[in-house]
């Protein structure tokens, strides 16, 4: 007999934890699953169990209050556990997930799955971006804040938005020399001004921003707008970065090129939603210009085109932790309503209480999206021999050749070139291919569709698929 539960929550970041807690408080039996050893996701990423901090800051305290609420007999939490497939079992008419972890069952079934798989750093290819020493803003933060390891000594931070500022502040606090912070956008205040009201109720964020600014000011780190790293060179490792001023559309201005000796380049071009489960399930999707990928279509309760599948948080569109938690809460009470744990009246009153805050969070996310949208020129930094698909080592020239054969979709490009067929399954190159195809074929990025995902969502030893299943299925 395959184990069953009333709600499966995939991803124990802020949104997933909040959803699990809310649903369990309403009375549902919940199984929460995450690949990391501890709950928290990227936003509330925890130091390892064997480590300790001299003092907890407000961010960590907020994380603990959420994590402590997972101590609920109705919540079963599987950490270090990979959900490698979601299937429909025609016999039980339930969703069936396949898992790999130390203490989890091999399969688990439920009528409802809430997906809160988060997001990861967006990639912009430029010459040398695949050299060791070029790391994402997310990588820099994880290394410093949860491992106490400094990625480099002389660092340039290049990208856009608040996340790269956070990474830069972490680097400075941990003792790295941050030479410059390059922001590829311009007119930040002008673009943000019409949306200033969206900052209402976001004082905590503004405060966080001041904290970053404090560290960076103290270290006198130059912050340059309309600039970015356009190429990196070095013998098997980053040694030198070329910096350029960008014009209004984000194209580098040749006369402005200058070279700086560095050992590390941190790139932070915003986030890509982790949409693999939605693509696996073939849900109805729509193209999102802001993120450059297809995201699932959802109703106001974050239900996707499959009524039993909910999508909340950054995986369904970048909105940050605050929005993810609100979405998780609302989705959870809707699931409670659907499963008979909440009356219609109770649901309506809870929903009414949340509406305004939800709107505020959505406005704030929209403001960030507009101010820190990626300028067009950035998608043309790669040279013909720049690697686009790092796993299969496919160059821009090869991708362009595929377009010249008549490729009309990302899948066509993948099939011709192998780009996206490797270990990361197109997570890094997928949105890059979208931009190249649109640029080369003069079509809308949406016309390229998206790379399909098939189980396993991460590579898995054959013996695991074979033997773990033998336990679950007599």
């Amino acid at each position: 007999m395959i184990e069953q539960t009333e709600l499966i929550v995939i991803g124990a970041g802020p949104g997933g934890m909040q959803a699990a807690i809310t649903a369990a408080n309403a009375g549902l039996q919940v199984t929460l699953i995450d690949g990391n050893p501890l709950p928290g996701g990227q936003y509330f990423k925890q130091i390892p169990e064997h480590f300790s901090m001299s003092e907890d800051n407000s961010h960590q305290k907020e994380a603990f209050s959420l994590i402590n609420n997972l101590n609920n007999p109705l919540i079963k939490f599987f950490s270090k556990t990979l959900v490698w497939g979601i299937f429909h079992n025609p016999k039980t008419n339930l969703w069936q997930i396949t898992l790999h972890g130390e203490n989890c069952p091999a399969r688990l079934e439920s009528p409802t799955i809430l997906i809160a798989s988060g997001a990861y750093d967006r990639s912009i290819p430029f010459p040398g971006w695949d050299l060791p020493g070029v790391i994402t803003a997310g990588a820099a933060q994880v290394m410093i804040k949860t491992q106490g390891i400094l990625p480099g000594k002389r660092v340039i931070v290049s990208g856009t938005g608040p996340l790269q500022l956070a990474a830069a502040a972490n680097l400075v606090d941990a003792g790295a020399e941050v030479l410059e912070i390059l922001e590829c956008n311009r007119n930040l205040l002008q673009k943000g001004f019409p949306h200033l009201t969206s900052v209402w109720g976001q004082w905590k964020r503004v405060q966080e921003g001041f904290q970053y600014a404090g560290s960076l000011l103290k270290a006198r780190v130059p912050y340059r707008i309309s600039s970015c790293v356009i190429s990196v060179t070095g013998d098997e490792k980053v040694e030198e970065a070329t910096i350029a001023k960008l014009d209004a559309e984000g194209y580098p201005i040749t006369a402005s090129f200058r070279k700086v000796a560095v050992d590390t380049v941190v790139v932070g071009y915003g986030l890509t939603p982790s949409t693999e489960f939605f693509r696996l399930l073939d849900l109805d999707m729509s193209y999102s210009d802001a993120t450059g990928v297809y995201i699932p279509m959802r109703n106001e309760f974050f239900q996707t085109s499959h009524p039993g599948i909910y999508a909340i948080g950054d995986c369904a569109g970048i909105g940050g932790a605050g929005l993810a938690m609100l979405e998780g809460k609302l989705a959870a009470i809707h699931i409670a309503l659907q499963s008979g744990y909440l009356t219609g009246n109770k649901f309506q009153s809870l929903f009414a209480q949340m509406k305004n805050r939800l709107k505020r969070e959505q406005n704030f996310a929209k403001m960030l999206e507009i101010v820190f949208a990626l300028p067009k020129g950035l998608s043309t930094l790669a040279e013909p021999d720049t690697i686009i698909c790092r796993c299969e080592q496919i160059s821009l020239a090869e991708v362009k050749a595929a377009v010249s054969f008549g490729a009309q979709s990302l899948t066509d490009i993948k099939n011709i070139t192998r780009s996206g067929m490797g270990n990361c399954q197109g997570r890094t190159c997928g949105s890059i291919l979208t931009q190249i195809l649109a640029h080369e074929s003069h079509r809308s990025p949406a016309d390229g569709h998206y790379l399909h995902i098939r189980p396993p969502v991460h590579p898995l030893l054959l013996e695991i698929v074979e033997e773990k299943d033998a336990e679950a299925i007599p």
Binding site: G85, F87, P90, T411
Partner: protein, 399 residues
């Protein structure tokens, strides 16, 4: 909003057969549109291993056709001006019992006479050819020393690249909704993105053919099963030289309504070093392309039975596609008798090897109204079928 466009020929289905037909027709100067509901190779053509095999041929009527198709691969790369990953490779079908061998005995008498190598080899010989095979319970194998393999995607794009240069309109993500029939003649198709008219409509629609036939009041005799497959990472601890298949399905009994169960395994290693592993699931018209919840496990189990070392290989991806067969093992190939304007080219056993010759045949049918390249009368879509030899068929207890 509908757009009205007129072509000489509309081909439905951008699989390997449709792509080849598009290449051959545009080469002959026709104005052609190729309509595809998803992307190129979204069905079985994008899910197979590109086996250019003649030894799996239906042996009563199809040998001349498969030989013509097979011969075309000798200089296809030169003709298309592109590397399609073609290589010569042997095919080894592992047998676990005498009954499995008995099933192939007639084939072993007929094929060599037609110039297709095919013989029984002993367990010792199997281990000489593929030392990593698990010898437990091995009865021997059938061995076809001279077969081939191409990259199915590059083959399709080799045809399409040329066809595009020759003026093809490639229309992907156009799903066929209905046919337009006027005075008993098929004159066009309605798709999700417009209506298109043509003198001739060719269905190269494999597993979707039966469903489309119903729209025209036809009951074409095509069965569907799901073929599931998976790819591993590059795996350096094992190198195999042949395409290895199994025959255990001959004694297998299939009885649940939906679960994937093994009917046959096929295993090959790409030039990059990845292993590709496939199986045929139970028969059933499931066209959504979603892999069954049981298929990854079934594939892993059968693979490790024959190649235990592959336990340590990592699966990167699985996939599935609806695949077809007919009761007599022959394709539905030719003009549809009661529907002028409509030509069928569907349900080839080993579509890859047949693709070049299918393109030639359909081009003859379009340009001169008949085919004198070879006798295609046994493949007439409306024929009545008798059960043929069943290399890939499983005893099915339908629930």
């Amino acid at each position: 909003m509908n757009t009205k466009k007129t072509h000489d020929v509309i081909i439905v289905g951008a699989g390997v057969i449709g792509c080849s037909i598009a290449y051959h027709l545009t080469k002959a100067g026709f104005n052609v549109a190729l309509i595809e509901q998803k992307h190129v190779g979204a069905g079985a053509s994008g899910a197979n291993f590109g086996m250019v095999q003649s030894n799996d041929v239906e042996i009563k009527h199809s040998i001349p056709m498969v030989l013509k198709g097979y011969a075309r691969f000798n200089d296809l790369e030169e003709e298309l001006g592109m590397d399609i990953g073609f290589r010569r490779i042997a095919s080894l079908r592992l047998l676990s019992s005498e009954a499995q061998w008995a099933n192939s005995r007639e084939r072993a008498m007929i094929l060599p006479k037609a110039g297709i190598p095919y013989e029984y080899v002993s367990p010792q010989k199997v281990l000489e050819i593929e030392p990593a095979v698990n010898p437990d319970g091995l009865f021997g194998a059938t061995y076809a020393s001279y077969q081939g393999q191409a990259n199915p995607f590059l083959l399709m794009w080799g045809f399409l690249r040329k066809a595009n240069q020759q003026g093809l309109s490639l229309l992907t993500y156009h799903e066929l909704k209905n046919f337009i029939v006027q005075s008993g003649r098929v004159i066009g198709v309605e798709t999700t993105r417009g209506t298109f008219y043509a003198e001739k409509i060719v269905l190269a629609t494999a597993a979707w053919t039966r469903k489309l036939g119903i729209l025209l009041g036809q009951n074409w005799n095509i069965h569907t099963f799901r073929a599931s497959a998976m790819a591993t990472e590059r795996f350096s601890d094992l190198h195999i030289n042949s395409i290895v298949t199994s025959a255990d399905h001959i004694e297998a009994e299939v009885n649940g309504p939906e679960d994937a169960e093994l009917t046959v395994m096929a295993l090959t290693q790409t030039q990059e070093g990845n292993f590709l592993i496939a199986q045929a699931d139970r028969p059933g018209e499931i066209l959504d392309g979603k892999i069954s919840h049981m298929a990854p496990r079934a594939m892993s189990t059968i693979t490790t039975r024959f190649f235990p070392i592959l336990r340590k290989a990592k699966i990167i991806r699985t996939w599935t596609a609806p695949t077809t067969y007919t009761d007599d093992g022959m394709p539905l190939l030719g003009p549809v008798k009661d529907l002028p304007g409509l030509i069928l080219a569907a349900s080839f056993r080993s579509a890859v090897v047949h693709s070049p010759v299918a393109g030639e045949i359909v081009t003859q049918l379009v340009s001169q109204g008949y085919c004198d390249l070879l006798d295609i009368s046994p493949f007439a879509p409306e024929r009545s079928m008798q059960e043929a030899d069943t290399v890939y068929k499983v005893k099915t207890t339908r629930p």
